[in-house]
Each structure stands twice: as C-alpha cells, then as structure tokens.
C-alpha cells in the first residue's frame, strides 16, 4: 500500500493499530477503505464477500504475520498475444518463481490493468478481449510490489496493407507497428500540405506566397529535406522553439509578476522577455541540451562576479530595457538564466519547485509521492524529499548580508585609515614643532590639513587594497563604523542624528577656533575643505548606521538629494534581490539516493552541480527520453508517452522508438536541430492527414497525421500573417525583424498576457487541449479582430482601392491562409457573396472573417 518494498510496508501497516486490528479484523482500515466503508482515494478495490476480502481478513486475524517471502520473478504467459478476430478471447496466466526455484501460479491473486481499454480489455480473471478500436495495449499484472507486463495486439482485418515508406529509422519503428496491427497508413502529404505543416511547426508561421511558389517550383527529389534544413536555420525557428522552451521551463508572466511584487526590479514582462531571449540565443546556435540545462540549473545572478560588477551590469540592463534599447549582449549572452529561479524559488514552496523540476526535466510527476510512497510509482517519498533538499538552498532574496570575515576586513581597513590619519597628523605636528612653531599653531596648521590629505589617500588605498567583494561606492568610513557599531546594538535614527549633530558641532567648533587664530587666506581655504570632508564622513557614518547597518546605501550625497527632492526618504535604499545559493548548514550534510539508486552527497557549496551531472549523464533514464517525448508531442499533438509527465509510470506507445530517439539525440551531441531534422524528414511526419476507412479510428499509432487546433501563439501569428497586420502586444522591447513568433509568453491562466495579446485570442490556452468553446466564441465574435480585417495598412485596403480582380485577391487570401488556391465551389460561393454584399469592403470583411474561422485555417493538419 505504501511503496514497493514489503519489508518497509509491513511495520507501517501494523504499527498504528488502525490499519490492521487483529482483534477486530473487520474494523481494520485496510479492509474498510478497500471496501469503501471509509472514503478512499483509490476507490473500491473489492467487496466484503470477495475472496480477496476473505484472504486479507484471515491474514489480519492471524495477527498480520510478516513472513511472506518475496518471489524472485513474476511472469505472464503467454508473453505475446494477438487477438486476431473481433470475438477473440485469450486467458493469461501469471507465474511467480520463488527464491528456492519452485514455481506457482498466482493468477487469481494479481491485479490486471490495461493501458488502453478501448483497444484491449482484461478482466480480473486475466481473460483478454478486444476493445472497439484497432490497436495494442500493455497489460500489467501486479503481484504485491512486483509487476510483469506484456503487449497485446488487436490488429485490423486481414488484408494486404501498404507499408509505410522508410525515409529514416523513425519510419521503421512506426511502420513495423502499423504492419503488425494491419493499419494501412494514409498516403504521403502533398507539397502544399507539407509546407504549411512544417512551417507552422518549425517556424510558427504560415508560409508566405513567395515561399510557397518557390517550393512548388522546385521539382528536385530532395526538396523537402532542403526546405527543412533552410527552416531550421531560420531565425524564426529559434524564436518559435525558444517560446516552447520558455513555456515548458515555467516562464509565466503572471507568476513572475507575483514574485517580482516583493522584489522590485524590472517589470515581469521584461523578465519574461529576457528568459525568452536567453533561450532564443541558444536555439539560434543549436546549443546542446545539457548546456541549456546547465545554464538554467546552475544559474546565479552574479555568476561569480563581484557584487559591484554584478550591480553595475544589472543597472545597465535596467536602464537599457527602460529605454527600449535592449541588445542580446545584455542578457542572452550571459552563461546562465537567473530569471528561471526568480519564479522557481520560494521560501514557502521548495516542494513545488522540486516537483516542477521533476515534471519538466525528467517527465516524472510527483503528485502522489509528495505525501506517501505509491505502489505504481518508481520514485519513493524519501527521494522526493531528497530532490527538495537539493534545490532548497537556491534562493531569490535580497543579497546575502556580509559574512563575519568581510566585516573584520572592513573594520581593519577602517582602522588602517584612522591610523594613517593620526600618524600623518602626528608627523606633521612633529615637523612644525621642530621648526619651532608654538604647539597650538603646529596642531592647528599642520595636523588637520596634512592629516586630511593623508586620510583621503588612506581611503583610496584601503578601497583598492582591501576589497571584500563590495562595490567601491559602498566602502566608506560610515560603513566601517557601522560594522563596528551595529553588532553592539547602536543603530537607527538616533545614532544617525547623533552623528550628524556631532559632525556639525565639530566643524563649527574647529572653524571658529581656526578663524579666531589666523584671519588669513590660508584659513579661508582650509576651512571649507576640511569641513566638507569631515561633514561628509560624519553624515555618512550617521546615514549608514541609521539606515541599514552594513551594506545597502548609496552614500550621503544621495541622502541629501533625496531630502532635497522629497523622494523616498522613509524607505531607505533596498538591497537588490539576487539569485544565490545559501551556505550549507551542518545538518545539510547527508547523502540521499536519487531515484535510480545513485547516491548523492549533499552539503557541498552548490548541491545543484552533482544533480546536474546526474541529470545530463547519458545513462540517466529520463532526461533524454523526456525531452524527445516533449518535442515529439509538439509535432504530433501527442507524446509517445502520455501524459507527458508520466514517464516513470506510463508505458510508451512505441517504447523502442522512444529509446532509439533518445539514444540518437544523445549520440548526436544532444542537438535539438538534429532531433527536429529527424522528425521532420520522416515519412511518418509527412503523411497526409486525410484518413481512410482503415485508419480513421486510429489516434496513437500514427497511421496518418492527426489534425489539431493551433495553439494561441500559432493562431495569433497566423491571423497576423493573413491580415497583413501586426498585433501590438505592448512588448517590452521592439522585436527585431523579420517578424518573430510574437506573443512573448502565453501560458494557461495567464490573464494579463492574454489580455495584452490584443484581447484577441483572449483566453485561448496554449496547452495541448487547444480546442475550447471560449476560443471558438472568441474568434467568431471578437470586435477587435473584426476591425483589424479592414485596418488601413492591412492586406485588404490597397487591393480594394486599386480594384484588383476579386478572383486574384481571393486566391491571395487563400494561398496565405490555407496554402492552396480556392477550388471552384469555394470561388463561386465567395464571388456570389461579394456580389450580394452592400459594398465590396463589407463583402470582403465577411469573407476574410469566414476564412479565419474555418476549421482548415484554425487547425494544423
């Protein structure tokens, strides 16, 4: 019940006296929950009068002994079953082999499950039947923690079935399965269909008329391969896949806004854009997948830079962003993408962060394992906690406070400068005394002046000699004083005012003395000079001590400025937020097990490093398979494993293909472009979407290309292309030409971006379920979209003014929107409609509106 290790399960079961009650077996939660006498998340497992119940009842009454031996192996016989005819039945037998070598049939004791009930069904006696669809299904027999699985095939009617042509190894896997199931594949797509499909998938754009004409004119047999290659090199492809990676890696504007609310800094839409651009830069250069993972995983804000350098860099970025003058060198060329952690770390939810990492990068869902071990899951709860611990110390917070050693350094620097100050003054006094000046005159004339100069010198020396990683402008006597005063409890406004008053008194006092003694020009020079330095220093001390203690302040000039301008005097200067890894605490030092049994020692300066190494190891069972599965789902509308985060628990429809694709991906240097190329050039991808009688019900064996509704991003882009307009998203930054895949990041539930996205696709989610009733309502009824059809500068106005022949204009619209010319019937209907319309403009508006709402336009096919 709790996991897959009976030895651990047993104590859990019997310990608390609730789950198992030998005195009153019928009151045991184990039985009450399984019979649904109590609420049970897993539903009813058996009834009170079943043999299962009796068996468990007897076991509990006997005191729930823990002596059950574990079988060495469980097997299902026969190991391969074909249900050839509609009425075919086949019984399964499950055999357990015990450690001593004896074998025993346990068919009645196992739980059978089918992955695809519509294709193959199995009852609890292990009898197989066909479902309503042609196909195949994994059948699992669960015997306690042990399971065995076989594949059962329910093929189509006996007939000669054409083979899928083999253009690359993908087709071998898909074709073999189709042949086995006797599912006839649809024919190859025609060039127009292929171009539209591949352009939308690869570039996120409809093909332009030029591209279409050029492609159709090319009659070379390798034209598709060359076209694919050209598209993969296209800048738009980089944007399109960066957009996919951004959404997948969790770039959500709403989430960023939520987090950024506390942190200040650049607005969320700018951060989302940085994230996108960082990925775009890598897509354009085909950076290997592990490198991208490294950039995301090992991200810190400073990337090893000193705080001063980092802050300078951040400020430069902010200023350029605010001026709409962003360049990729400002963020995209950074080695790491720290924006990722700005949404992902949250002191309150390290667990969610770990689960997101597991879901996205491993394809493993942890919802069950969060609270308890689950019999069907490969991960244990302890491993889940381990992952949480790995990521727990990565934070997005105000910069870390100074460490003790840094404070000591600062204090020493302060002492050094004071020593120099005193020493220099004393030397000068001595010199004057030796010249025979009176004592008082020597002190007054020499000490202060030379001492002051030497102090300045000492300040600069100490700044550049002793740099504990602090921005230079933050190093000052005030800071040093603060580091001394703060630990003894002297802080706050009174100290600041006290320092200020002291400074003023001293300056006034010294000035008065000086003025009284010698009313000469030299005094007139020295007084303001010394006074300014002194006043500044004391104010600085006061400000630093009064505000934040040690680190964050921008010097007294800024205070004066703020006072003068009535600015944020009350707030003080905030510490900038940054992504960094907290130092390990002693209790962090421990060893955890990763789900495949790899031990990992925690408590290193950055625990993410060994985890990343494990993640990017070619032997990692999930990383590559998860990624190829997700890319596959982008192309085909469904993953080889569904759900996409079910890699550890759900069987693949084509396990060998998944393994091969992953291995091929790794073998080719984890190159995304190579993966795209493999898929795009396969005959499987290039099949027609038109079904025929033999494969209409197929939804997961790829006997044809399955049409699907375009995602919000795609649809928006396509609408823009057709209308010849550009949606104004109030993008944080001007987007470089050529027009890119536009919505920065639209994710489910992200109201604000959706609203900004010209309220157009309004609330279309960009999930796999792209088809929603709201989305359809939207494109049918939206007024903004309606107006944009005849927007000046769009595709419609100029041809109308120039009185272009309706048939030619119609052809243009059709070729742009549907990559084909209208057929006779369509042309007639359109022209009839135009003729009956009150004005050409109104007629065309209707026509384009109808075109944008057709299924053919709104679907990828």
């Amino acid at each position: 019940m709790l996991g897959r290790r009976p030895a651990d399960d047993h104590p859990q079961l019997v310990r608390d006296g609730r789950r198992v009650q030998p005195g009153r077996p019928e009151q045991s939660l184990l039985l009450r929950k399984a019979t649904l006498a109590e609420l049970h998340g897993g539903g009813r497992r058996f009834s009170v009068d079943s043999p299962d119940y009796q068996l468990l009842y007897r076991w509990i009454r006997a005191g729930a002994p823990a002596d059950a031996p574990s079988p060495a192996q469980v097997r299902i016989l026969p190991s391969r079953v074909t249900l050839d005819r509609p009425e075919s039945r086949a019984p399964l037998a499950v055999w357990a082999t015990w450690p001593d070598g004896t074998r025993e049939e346990v068919t009645g004791l196992v739980e059978f499950r089918t992955a695809e009930p519509l294709e193959v069904q199995v009852d609890q006696q292990g009898v197989l039947r066909r479902g309503t669809r042609v196909g195949s299904s994994g059948i699992t027999a669960q015997y306690g923690p042990h399971s065995a699985a076989i594949t059962v095939v329910a093929p189509g009617p006996r007939a000669v079935v054409p083979r899928l042509p083999v253009r690359n190894p993908i087709d071998r896997f898909i074709g073999d399965r189709l042949a086995e199931l006797r599912l006839p594949p649809s024919p190859d797509s025609d060039d127009r269909e292929f171009l539209r499909r591949a352009s939308l998938d690869t570039l996120g754009h409809l093909p332009s008329r030029d591209e279409l004409a050029r492609f159709l004119a090319d009659r070379a047999p390798d034209r598709r391969a060359r076209r694919v290659e050209a598209m993969l090199q296209d800048e738009r492809a980089a944007w399109r896949w960066a957009n996919f990676l951004a959404v997948w890696s969790g770039c959500d504007e709403a989430e960023l806004r939520h987090r950024q609310g506390e942190a200040g800094g650049p607005p969320a839409e700018q951060l989302a854009y940085l994230w996108l651009d960082w990925l775009r830069y890598r897509m354009a250069r085909d950076v290997p997948y592990p490198e991208i993972l490294r950039g995301i995983f090992l991200a810190t804000s400073r990337e090893g830079k000193s705080r001063a350098d980092w802050e300078r860099q951040e400020r430069a970025l902010e200023i350029r962003m605010a001026r709409q003058a962003y360049q990729e060198t400002l963020y995209a060329t950074r080695p790491t993408c720290d924006v990722y952690w700005r949404t992902e770390t949250h002191s309150l939810r390290p667990m969610k962060c770990a689960e997101a990492v597991s879901r996205r990068f491993l394809g493993v869902n942890m919802d069950c394992v969060r609270c308890h071990d689950h019999p069907y899951e490969r991960w244990l709860q302890s491993e889940h906690h381990g992952l949480v611990d790995i990521l727990d110390r990565t934070t997005y917070m105000p910069s870390p406070p100074l460490r003790f050693a840094q404070k000591v350094q600062l204090a020493l620097a302060g002492l050094l400068s004071l020593g120099l100050f005193a020493g220099g003054g004393a030397l000068q006094v001595l010199r004057l005394r030796r010249q025979g000046r009176p004592r008082r005159a020597a002190w007054m004339r020499g000490g202060w002046g030379v001492g002051g100069a030497l102090t300045l010198f000492a300040l600069f020396c100490s700044l550049y000699l002793v740099r504990p990683g602090l921005p230079t402008e933050y190093q000052s006597p005030g800071l040093w004083a603060a580091s001394v005063l703060e630990p003894v409890g002297l802080r706050g406004a009174p100290v600041a005012w006290g320092c200020g008053a002291l400074a003023l008194l001293l300056v006034l006092g010294v000035g008065r003395l000086q003025w009284n003694r010698r009313r000469d020009a030299r005094a007139a020079f020295w007084l303001p000079a010394v006074g300014t330095v002194f006043l500044g220093t004391c104010l600085d001390v006061g400000y630093v001590v009064g505000r934040h203690g040690t680190v964050d302040r921008r010097g007294w000039v800024q205070v004066l400025y703020r006072k003068a301008t009535g600015g944020e005097t009350g707030e003080g200067v905030q510490r900038r937020w940054e992504v960094f890894v907290l130092d390990p605490a002693p209790e962090d030092r421990r060893t955890i097990l990763l789900p495949d049994g790899t031990p990992l020692r925690l408590g290193t300066p950055d625990d993410r490093k060994p985890f990343l190494a494990w993640l990017c190891d070619p032997r990692n069972p999930w990383t590559a398979r998860n990624f190829v599965n997700r890319i596959w789902a982008q192309y085909f509308g469904r993953g080889l494993v569904e759900p996409l985060d079910g890699l550890a628990t759900h069987p693949a429809t084509h396990p060998e293909l998944l393994d091969w694709l992953a291995a091929d991906f790794v073998a080719h240097g984890w190159s995304l472009r190579h993966l795209h190329r493999r898929i795009l050039t396969s005959a499987t991808y290039q099949l027609a979407s038109r079904p025929h009688s033999g494969n209409r019900t197929d939804v997961r064996h790829y006997a044809r290309f399955y049409p699907r509704r375009l995602s919000a991003e795609h649809l928006l882009q396509a609408v823009d292309t057709v209308l010849g307009t550009r949606s104004d998203f109030e993008l944080p930054l001007p987007v470089p030409e050529p027009t890119v895949f536009q919505i920065p990041v639209l994710s489910p539930g992200n109201q604000t971006t959706a609203a900004r996205a010209f309220r157009m696709l309004g609330r279309l989610p960009s999930t796999s379920d792209n088809l929603t009733s709201e989305g359809v309502l939207f494109t049918l009824s939206d007024k903004a979209l309606w107006k944009r059809i005849e927007e000046p500068g769009g595709r419609l106005r100029r041809p109308l003014e120039q009185k272009v022949a309706p048939a030619a204009l119609l052809r243009e619209y059709y070729e742009v929107a549907l990559t084909r010319p209208p057929d006779k019937a369509e042309e007639q209907a359109a022209l009839r409609h135009l003729a009956a319309s009150p004005s050409p403009l109104a007629g065309w508006q209707d026509l384009v509106w109808a075109l944008l709402n057709t299924t053919e336009f709104q679907c990828q096919h």
Partner: protein
Amino acid sequence: MDLRWNRRALLLAGAGGLPFWAGDPQPVEAAARAGGRSVIVVFLRGGPTQLETFDPKPDAPSDIRGSFGTVATPIAGVRFCEHLPRLAAGLRHIAVIRSMTHALTDHEAGQRYVLTGDRLAAPRSPALGASFVAAVGWRVPPSYVAIPELRGYAGCLGPRYDPFTPLGDSGHLTLGTAVPTGPTAPQGFARRSRLLETLNQRFRTATDGDATVEEHGALVRRTSDLLHSEATRRAMNLEWEPARTRDRYGRTLWGDYLLLARRMVEAGRTFVTVVLDGWDTHAYSVPALERLLPDLDRALAALLEDLAQRGRLEQTIVLVLGEFGRTPRLNPQGGRGHWARAMSVLWAGGGARGGQVVGATDRTASEPTESPYSPTDLAYTLFQQLGVPPDEIRVSPERRRLFAGGKRIRELFG
C-alpha cells in the same frame, strides 16, 4: 447512458443539416424523463467557513466561535451568522445540509470533487453541468452556462461540453448589452455564417470524420447558433429587468451574476454554475467576511425570493456550496485553514422541503454527528431530482459510474 462522445451521432447530425446536438445520445427521451427542472449552482470558491455562515456555534469558546454574533431564523434553535439576516428570514425556502463531509482539503481536488460529484476527483471527470448536458441534450438558449466562467471541467466529454460563458474579458456581457455590432451584428450574420459553413465543407470532406475537425465544426455551429439567438441575447441583457428587481439583488457584481442566472433559467431549461470567488479566508477573515457575507446575503436571498414569487422554485434547484469548510479553531492570524470533514450546503427548490436543517455537527462544527452525506450523495440526489437516473451517468473510457456509491439525501424530501 454513456457520456463518451459519439462520433456517429455527430456525423449523422452534420450530414442531415440538423443542429449537432440533435444527434446526442437519446436526447428526446432523456428530456422527457427529466421533468424539466433547471439548476443554479452557486459555487463559493475557496471554501467558505461553516462557522461564520450556516452552522455557527454561539456557545463554543471564542477561538472556535469567532467574533461574529448570530441571528435567529424562523425555526427555533437554528441560527445563522449575524451577517446573513435576509437568508435567515427566508429560511422557509431553504434546506440547510450541515453534515456534508469529505476528505479532500486541497482546493484543486476539493473543487473537482464537489463540482463533478466524482469521489475520485479524477482530472478527466466532467462537471455536473456537462453531465447534465450529456443527459438532456443541448439547446438554445444555452442549456449550460457558467458565470463568470468555469474552465477545464468538460473532462472526457470534450470541449463541446464546456459551459457557455457569457462574460467577456472585462466583465462586460458579450451579448447582453444593446444590439451587437461587429461580426455578430444581426444584419448579415446569417449570411456570414452560411458562408463560413460553405467554406468549411471542403476540409470537412477531406478529413472525412476526423474527431478534432468534427469537434471544431460542431463548436462553431453551436456558437453561431448561440450568437444568432435573440432569446439568448434577451435573457442576457439585464437592462430588461425592472429597476426595482435590480435594486433588490443589490446591483453588485454578485447580484448581477445571480440575476443573470435567474434570467437564463427562465429562458429555458438550464444548468447554471455561478462562481463567487474569495472565500479562502486564511488570515484576517473578519474584514473579508464582513465584505463577502452581506453581498451574498442580499443577492442570494433576493434570488430565492424572486424565484418563489415567480413560482419557479419548484422547477429550479438552487445549490449553494464551496469545496470544503474551514477549521473549527481560528489560527493566530485570525483566519481558518482548510477543513473538509464538515461543511454546510444549501439546497432550495426542486421538490425539497424548505425550512429544515439536515444533519448536525458536533460542538465545534468539526465532524458531522448525524446523517453525514458526501458530495457524491448530493450529486446523486441532484440528478434524481432532475429526472436523470444517476446510476446511468458513466465516464469513458472505462465506463465507470460517476456517482458510484451515492445515496439519496432522503431528509430533503421527507
């Protein structure tokens, strides 16, 4: 009946030029059996507290009782929170179920359970309204409406069973105000729709019954019909309502929602889900509840009174519920956490006897002490009252009974 989407029916419907829902499984019989009742589910999203609404414990210690007083109802010994005086006075229409209980204290899971009636809260289970549409068929004015919205609850039935969502982005009615302009303007809309239908023909033939294509086409036709419907537009335009009625509902957002719900119910047999958000009061609950409760009180009491005056309460079932209750003890921040062991649900109309309390909780409103019922039981009873045999509601692909183990809440009708 099986809720799995029936492609053959769809094809037949499309081929015959009928509205596609005419091909839904047995719509006519089901409608005939159904007795014509409508439903308004008022869903208080976030989990309203039972102690500060319908199950106050005035004698409990202050950290359980909370800081609100209580108000008497026409039934001796039954008290409501002091901020619900109108509902307390109108108790004769309402049956309060105080012993609703389940075990899912996560918002997502709890909402899924309560809104689908599915004990497993499975992610692919359809909402009650979707099951309703599947059972009785779809008609215009829409048979299933969500105000302001309810996304992601069509489950295995597919987007065709999403509710019609009348409110646009900024809260304005998409159809409700004045005469629509733009693409849905009445003049020419029929021609435009016909043109669209013509242009859709070729692809539809070419893809020859592909599920996604059919679904999209069906959605487009369904939505076009809605946009055509004068009756729907009229129902959604609150301007038709006398000012006095609007005043009675309070002229608040929630008041408008509930008034709109009443108009939709009047326009035709409808399942309306109204979502009133903001009940997740983890901290500083007093000011939040002082804002929420009077709004709810005024609007809901007006709705019930209105329905009763118009004689529609027999034909309309009003359910008020959240996903769970809240912890009996106040936390140090002055709020309450999630608590599913006890929650209060209101049932009004649809043949139920008003002016009664079903079940009871213990001294701290933490566990039901008599006749505990689950959300599955509630859904089971609801569908019985709608005339749809609840045992026949199944979900694909395994044809599991959605309300398995549900039982009738007998007290409601005793």
